[in-house]
């Protein structure tokens, strides 16, 4: 290597260093981590945080504001929170939610919590969206929901006095587009964590179950009685869902194909995502179409009301008899246990 080459190398190295310094000065939002509950930390794998949408303080704050923002709807009257009410564990107490012009969908709004632990990342009752970011795209343009267009929404946000600055702080650009809107909402939704119910406290040794609640848990875990644990989690899977798709024997014939309409596979007809059993106290009505108003209705369905069909899950027991035929006491105790999964702190904050 002669002197000329050495000089060139030194100059290049200097330029590289200069570039590096420039990058350090570039604005970056404040990274934050999810506060993972102890029971989740101890029992299940880490939540899904996409590398292209890491959590930041500014992103989460923006997402929260957008979640409650009526400008996302066509006539500025409806926000995500209207159908996903925090006081009801981010769901709607109506069987079907009203769109901005009063039209109704055909599914009950799903509650929103612990979404970062949906490992297969298929959202909605029928799994039609992959990733929380993608999920957030749908309601804005759905004619039965917010009935807007993304160009309208982004234009309104762009013209707002505050949003361009908030996007600048969250993503380093004041140019608003649908991708950044959905990224921010997804960041906020990932922070909706529910893990402070009586049963959580029981597992942490901080609370005692009543004999009825304990028997209800035993019914839940007993394959010969409730056999709920195969699809709805357990003390070792405190999400209280497998986030998988099952036909739980609601209908002889399907008016709503569920997952089957998405995959096109007849074997998936009538299958819907198992919802978490946390916070059932706040999330009635139940099932994908909100057909059951009470937990008693739900338990009676599994106990005596199962309907056979070609895709009914083999985990449904004694279908020919209508179900497992729980005693009245076991039914009442099962409900008592399910109510220990209510997280009042979650709905109050």
């Amino acid at each position: 290597m002669n002197k000329r080459h050495i000089h060139i190398a030194l100059v290049l190295a200097f330029i590289c260093c200069a570039c590096t310094n420039e990058r350090v000065d570039t604005y970056a939002p404040t990274p934050i981590s999810l506060e993972i509950p102890q029971l989740f930390q101890d029992n299940i794998i880490a939540p899904v945080i996409p590398s292209n949408n890491p959590l930041t303080a500014e992103g989460v704050a923006l997402g929260k504001q957008l979640f409650f923002e009526p400008m996302l709807s066509g006539n500025n009257t409806q926000a995500c929170a209207d159908c996903h009410n925090p006081q009801h564990a981010f769901t709607d107490i109506s069987r079907f939610s009203d769109g901005i012009d009063g039209s109704l969908g055909n599914r009950n709004a799903m509650p929103l919590f612990n979404l970062a632990w949906n490992y297969n990342e298929r959202f909605f009752w029928d799994g039609k969206s992959f990733s929380l970011e993608h999920q957030a795209f749908s309601p804005v343009t759905d004619p039965n929901e917010m009935k807007s267009s993304w160009s309208e929404v982004t234009q309104k946000l762009q013209q707002d006095a505050n949003y361009p600055t908030l996007f600048q702080q969250a993503f380093g650009t004041s140019q608003i587009d649908s991708i950044l809107v959905t990224k921010a909402i997804a960041q906020f939704e990932r922070t909706l964590i529910s893990a402070n119910s009586k049963f959580d406290k029981f597992l942490l040794g901080e609370a005692q179950l009543t004999p009825e609640e304990q028997n209800g848990f035993d019914v839940f875990m007993d394959e010969a009685r409730g056999d709920c644990f195969h699809c709805h989690g357990s003390d070792k899977n405190p999400l209280w869902t497998d986030n998988a798709f099952h036909n739980n024997g609601l209908d002889f014939e399907f008016t709503d194909l569920g997952l089957g309409a998405i995959t096109g596979d007849p074997a998936d007809n009538g299958k819907f995502r198992s919802p978490s059993l946390r916070n059932l106290e706040f999330t009635a009505p139940y099932m994908h179409d909100g057909r059951f108003n009470t937990l008693e209705d739900v338990i009676n369905h599994y106990s005596e009301g199962l309907k056979p069909s070609s895709t009914i899950d083999p985990l449904m027991k004694k279908v020919a008899q209508g179900g497992v035929g729980l005693s009245e006491k076991d039914k009442a105790d099962l409900i008592a246990f399910l109510l220990t999964l209510s997280d009042y702190e979650f709905i109050e904050n």
Binding site: M221, E223, A224, D235
Partner: protein, 257 residues
């Protein structure tokens, strides 16, 4: 001085290369590839969800869900020394996941008297402190009242019953348990060691292991689905029958580089 530095650098590089070469020539990773069949007919998840198989007892059936656990892959040397890969793999045929498994670590090239694995977990692994978050997340755990630990297999489907109706079955293998509740007891261990026989391991060998699903219903116990179809986890006798039938389920199909 410069020349000395260059010489030292080149020598170090050569030594490093030589060391790698030696390692590469004597040690290798081994992959296990799990395939499935109904007797002589290959089965994949594309064959699921339709009643197209007939078991030894003459019952027609479908497969809707099949996932199972293997652990502690072990190579036994000519000196009867066991090289054990601690670890496990949850093979999920339904979702076509983890059908291929490469245990962490390498073994010397050469011929081994036997290769084996545990179907499920041995008791030590089954009750390891803290459990397995990935298996918990997959809802593969067994309720404490049913003995705790983990499923060895979940095999669900439907069969045509005696009244000619499709009926669900849940052939779930766990550690056989009695006296379910707070203090369950265990009449017999029902995990088992699968011996695949002698193998010669060359660089990056792939062992293809076949599960003949029909065998779960066949030998030595001809399984009657009309009698044993659901709620088999608390049925110790059924678990012991699964254990016995499982002995002939796996075989080494091929060894490839």
């Amino acid at each position: 001085m410069k020349k000395i530095l260059c010489l030292i650098t080149i020598t170090l590089l050569l030594l490093r290369c030589e060391s790698d070469a030696v390692s590469a020539n004597t040690q290798t990773n081994v992959s296990l590839n799990f395939v499935h069949a109904w007797e002589d007919t290959p089965v994949t998840n594309s064959d699921f969800n339709s009643i197209q198989f007939t078991n030894e007892n003459g019952e027609q059936l479908s497969i809707e869900r099949l996932r199972y656990l293997i652990s502690n892959v072990t190579f036994t040397t000519a000196n009867n020394e066991n090289l054990v890969f601690n670890g496990y793999n949850l093979i999920d045929v339904t979702n076509n996941q983890n059908l291929s498994f490469t245990p962490t670590g390498a073994i010397p090239l050469g011929t081994y008297n036997n290769v084996s694995f545990i179907f499920g977990f041995n008791n030590e692994d089954n009750y390891i402190e803290g459990g397995y978050p990935d298996l918990n997340s997959a809802s593969f755990n067994v309720p404490g009242m049913l003995g705790g630990g983990y499923h060895y297999m979940q095999f669900d489907g439907k069969f045509i019953n005696a009244t000619n109706e499709a009926q669900g079955f849940n052939y779930h293998a766990i550690r056989a348990v009695e006296n379910i509740g707070e203090n369950p007891t265990f009449p017999k261990d029902t995990f088992f060691k699968v011996n695949l026989g002698a193998v010669t391991i060359t660089a990056n060998t792939v062992l293809t292991i076949e599960m003949n699903i029909a065998e779960w219903f066949k030998t030595p116990n001809r399984w009657n689905l009309n009698e044993l179809n659901q709620m088999l986890m608390p049925n110790a006798d059924a678990q012991i029958m699964m254990f016995e039938n499982g002995q002939n389920v796996f075989s080494l199909k091929s060894v490839n580089e």
